[in-house]
Amino acid sequence: MRLVLQRLPLLIVLLAAISAAVFTLTQYLPGDPAFVAAGGGDATPEMVAHARARLGLDKPLWARYLYYMRNAVQGDFGNSIVNRKPVIEDVRKYWPASLELALAAIAISALVGIPLGLVSAAWTGRWPDRLITPASVFLGSMPIFWLGLMAVFVFYRQLDLLPAGGRLTVGLVPPPAVTGLLLVDSIIAGQGKVFGDALRHLILPATILSVISLAMITRVTRAALLDILHEDYLRTARAKGLSERRVLLKHALRNASVPILTIVGLQLGQLIGGVVVTETIFSWPGLGLYAVTAVDNQDYPALLAFTLVTTAAYVTINVFVDLLYPLLSPQTRR
């Protein structure tokens, strides 16, 4: 609990800083919103002044910022410039898709990365390690947007195995939204066909996105295991006659779990940037694609809301990871 209290100020200060930075920037854009609101070309100076007062633009910058933040805290991010709808409605509509993608990706990279790290730590310097370690550098050097495009070309155009984008085939009715995650919702609704279709759509984007964190998780698992492999308690376990396999899986992995789980958690935060890119490649209707569309349309209220929401998510994940430490490792308990 003390940790929560310690970390909370950082979250608040960070959100205030990033929102203030972006908000201030948007206020110095060319073009006068009061002039536009007053009707543009035909507006008299009085009309413009009236519109300015109505929009609150005659107030100083800090007052406008406080006003914006007061509304934002209550979930009102203003209306989109493009579709005139409240931004919060769109955010609510799109974020589950991003969550589903990010969770699937982190699951893949943990399920593949941890065993790979384990294998390369167990055979340090021998062929599995010599193969896996350079491969992780190799994979980590690929731009994922390019890898994604190549995957679309191979699996969609050449092999015709997987769809090129979207969450569901057009015409298929999505299950009633409970969690917003299509895989979960289709199970709840008992719609096997929708589940299969959603899964086929998810495979490529989630796999591509998982590449970002796969290499890091493999490396950290390997390093964490190597750090402890020569500790006394493991030597004792071996001396007791336990098989090497049992020593690794039961004793070593558990003791290395703190750095491993930490990196998995931190990578979930790192994935946010990757989500934007992946959603763009696969036309995945999530927050990332929404943000890129907002960028193209210069839709500032939407962009500002996206920045705030993702920053909050990012920091919350990191704080949450910090909180996991004492639970996992009694030594760090204060």
Binding site: L29, P143, I272, V295
Partner: protein, 254 residues
């Protein structure tokens, strides 16, 4: 390739030949041609310059700024140290792509905005690294000797502390160039980085995406160029580390 692109190709990367649009790779055009009939090999060659220059300048600025701040933090008193570390924590917590996306959209798209946006957050990593180094070396004998000999504070900082603290910064900077290339290319891909007709690799992949299904070589080669360059910087970074600091291993970000 970055310094003298004209050595590698005699073609003009911006020469438009409408008659040979979207040709597959051939002897005349080893990487094929784009939608305006421009030679893709020439564009990839010329693309090395903006791509690398942006990434390198980003890391140089971030590393220089961060090192100076880190050196000062490390040398300053306890209260200032505590306070400045909180500030760097703040910058470290910025989600980089999201921030750069917002910044470049508002300030104006282009490689320069992206470099500025990323530098604003990146220096903090170096500040923390440098501070850690200073704290290690501050109490070492050779520094204490220099102090005992009556050398001035700034001389000690500049000539005794700094050279000893630099090697991890160099290692990190080399590896960070590869990260910077990936990030900047991703931002270009999202449309806020390099703007056409500048031959930049990320932006070329973006345009190539439109023609992906029928003209796959267009997006393939610029992406391959990014991959090879990033890989080289990663390998180089590991070599630099082996030379400067044989003891260290691959680990997490500081």
């Amino acid at each position: 390739m970055m310094i003298a692109p004209s050595v590698f190709t005699r073609r003009d990367p911006n020469a438009i030949e409408f008659l040979s649009r979207l040709r597959p790779p051939s002897l005349a055009h080893p990487f094929g041609t784009d939608e305006n009939g421009r030679d893709l090999w020439a564009r990839v060659v010329y693309g090395a310059r903006p791509t690398l220059a942006a990434a390198v300048s980003l890391i140089v600025v971030a590393a220089a700024l961060g090192s100076v701040v880190g050196l000062l933090i490390g040398a300053a008193g306890r209260a200032a140290d505590e306070w400045l570390m909180r500030v760097t924590e703040l910058f470290l917590a910025f989600p980089q792509i999201v921030w750069a996306l917002a910044f470049a959209t508002v300030v104006g798209r282009g490689l320069v905005s992206c470099v500025v946006a990323l530098a604003i957050t990146w220096w903090a990593q170096y500040a923390r690294l440098m501070r850690g180094q200073v704290l290690v070396y501050r109490e070492k004998e050779f520094i204490l000797t220099a102090r005992a000999l009556g050398q001035r504070q700034w001389r000690i900082l500049l000539f005794h502390l700094l050279p000893n603290c630099l090697s991890p910064v160099l290692v990190k900077a080399t590896i960070d160039v590869s990260l910077a290339i990936l990030l900047l290319a991703a931002l270009s891909f999202l449309g806020v980085g390099a703007q056409p007709p500048l031959p930049e690799w990320g932006a070329m992949v973006t345009i190539g995406r439109k023609y992906l299904l029928d003209y796959p070589w267009y997006a393939t080669f610029p992406g391959l160029a990014i991959f090879v360059t990033v890989l080289s910087f990663n390998v180089l970074g590991e070599r630099v580390r082996d030379v400067l600091d044989p003891k260290s291993r691959i680990g997490e970000r500081p």
